[in-house]
Symmetry: C2
Subunit: 207 residues, 2 copies
Amino acid sequence: MEKNLPPATVERLSNYRRKLKGINTEETAYIHSHQLAHLMRINPAHIRRDLMLINFSGDIHKGYNIENLIAKIGENIDCIRKQKLAFIGIGDLGRALASEFKNKDSKLEIVAAFRLEENLNDESVDFKCYPISKIKQVLKKEEIDIIVLTLTKINLKEVLKNIVDSGVKGILNFTSAHLDVPDEIYVENYDMIGKLEKLSYFTSCKD
Amino acid sequence: MEKNLPPATVERLSNYRRKLKGINTEETAYIHSHQLAHLMRINPAHIRRDLMLINFSGDIHKGYNIENLIAKIGENIDCIRKQKLAFIGIGDLGRALASEFKNKDSKLEIVAAFRLEENLNDESVDFKCYPISKIKQVLKKEEIDIIVLTLTKINLKEVLKNIVDSGVKGILNFTSAHLDVPDEIYVENYDMIGKLEKLSYFTSCKD
DNA sequence: AATTTCTTGTTAACATTTTAACAATATATG
DNA sequence: CATATATTGTTAAAATGTTAACAAGAAATT
Ligand SMILES: NC(=O)c1ccc[n+]([C@@H]2O[C@H](COP(=O)([O-])OP(=O)(O)OC[C@H]3O[C@@H](n4cnc5c(N)ncnc54)[C@H](O)[C@@H]3O)[C@@H](O)[C@H]2O)c1
Ligand SMILES: NC(=O)c1ccc[n+]([C@@H]2O[C@H](COP(=O)([O-])OP(=O)(O)OC[C@H]3O[C@@H](n4cnc5c(N)ncnc54)[C@H](O)[C@@H]3O)[C@@H](O)[C@H]2O)c1
């Protein structure tokens, strides 16, 4: 399978799927483009175009079969094997994000988290938590694919070096720090403040 | 002032500012487009174009004066008066997001949070926390501009009705629920899973 | 003084994303 | 049966976003 879907489409497909999974298909097995569009707050043409790109056909009158669509999206955007995630920093934010994964049966699996504290009971989470001193060893052994950075930035430099050396392929970065890593590593920065300030700009009267 | 900046530029300007504020201007008072671009992992032309849009000029050799630039960005994207935020749901995620606001001296100010629990000590946060039963009353009285939704979705329908009635202008939504609110309210959905799955798509070998 | 070297500001080209438009087609309705 | 209606799939157009290119000009260097 070639990775020829536009990034914006990939992200939307993931969002469609999550929304569709929330629908009880015993009540409604089909959904129309305009209905899904309404749920997603986007244009119906968008939906039709995205589904065209993954070659998914609907019934001209009943609409799209929800279960089949969920499966088709998976065929197109999921990795064949499970990809392994590790969290670095497991405080308020890390815990909140990690708990989103429960009951999601995604192809992404959290296999480890790291934190400063050497001895700590981590009963609230269902993956293994290590002190950061073990990072080198664990990343290599577990063959982690993707890192989620939710740490406060003490020692970031050394942490990054270990990440790069371990062969990780992508980083989702929630810290405000600059990540000086090679271009081969796909970095996605994620910042709420930017979104909020954009929202503020477009909702405030500027006169 | 007219709101004629492209959304993508507004978001980037906010990000530039946050990055610039992290620089010690006693050491380096100026920054070049390519330096900031490197920090942001974007193209230098991007920076120059964005700053052109807000009419900010740099010194042809020294680059951009950091303090002036921070101020200029503020003039262009900040609301004249402080805008008031309220969080609905103040668990792991709410707390993590709220604590990002400390020491940020933004024009956005958290003035209230709501949660299910009637009696609870909220010592870790520095704004007022109310039980959700008080929502109607508080939103009206405080004239909240923007809502951050970080609740687990019990009673969402009623919560939404109160939000709409109170005249809120924007919602940053972290829940997976569909927000059925009038089009006048600017809704921004924010989902980490979509970003992660996109990251997974572009980092995995699909052959 | 001339030349080289940078960097900004700006334009124009390019790429991507979004949306409108509509033919094709199936069902329902009069 | 003919007509009205609704929805998909697809193309084309419009809008937005990104990047390349380069003139203009300031300092440094020869
Ligand atoms: N991008 C956003 O929108 C956003 C929102 C909220 C928080 N944040 C950022 O997320 C990060 C975490 O926030 P939080 O509220 O969860 O903080 P927290 O204090 O609750 O948790 C921090 C965690 O990181 C660990 N940690 C710190 N330094 C570490 C290191 N060098 N190596 C390994 N582990 C380390 C700690 O042990 C702890 O588990 C912060 O950098 C914060 O700025 C970003
Ligand atoms: N978009 C994302 O990337 C992302 C990531 C993590 C969590 N989430 C979502 O954020 C939400 C909160 O997650 P969390 O980990 O902080 O949960 P949590 O259980 O730690 O906290 C939930 C909070 O919401 C409050 N609450 C619940 N129902 C409420 C109601 N009807 N009215 C008022 N308050 C209410 C609770 O009192 C509590 O304060 C969940 O919906 C979760 O799915 C989204």
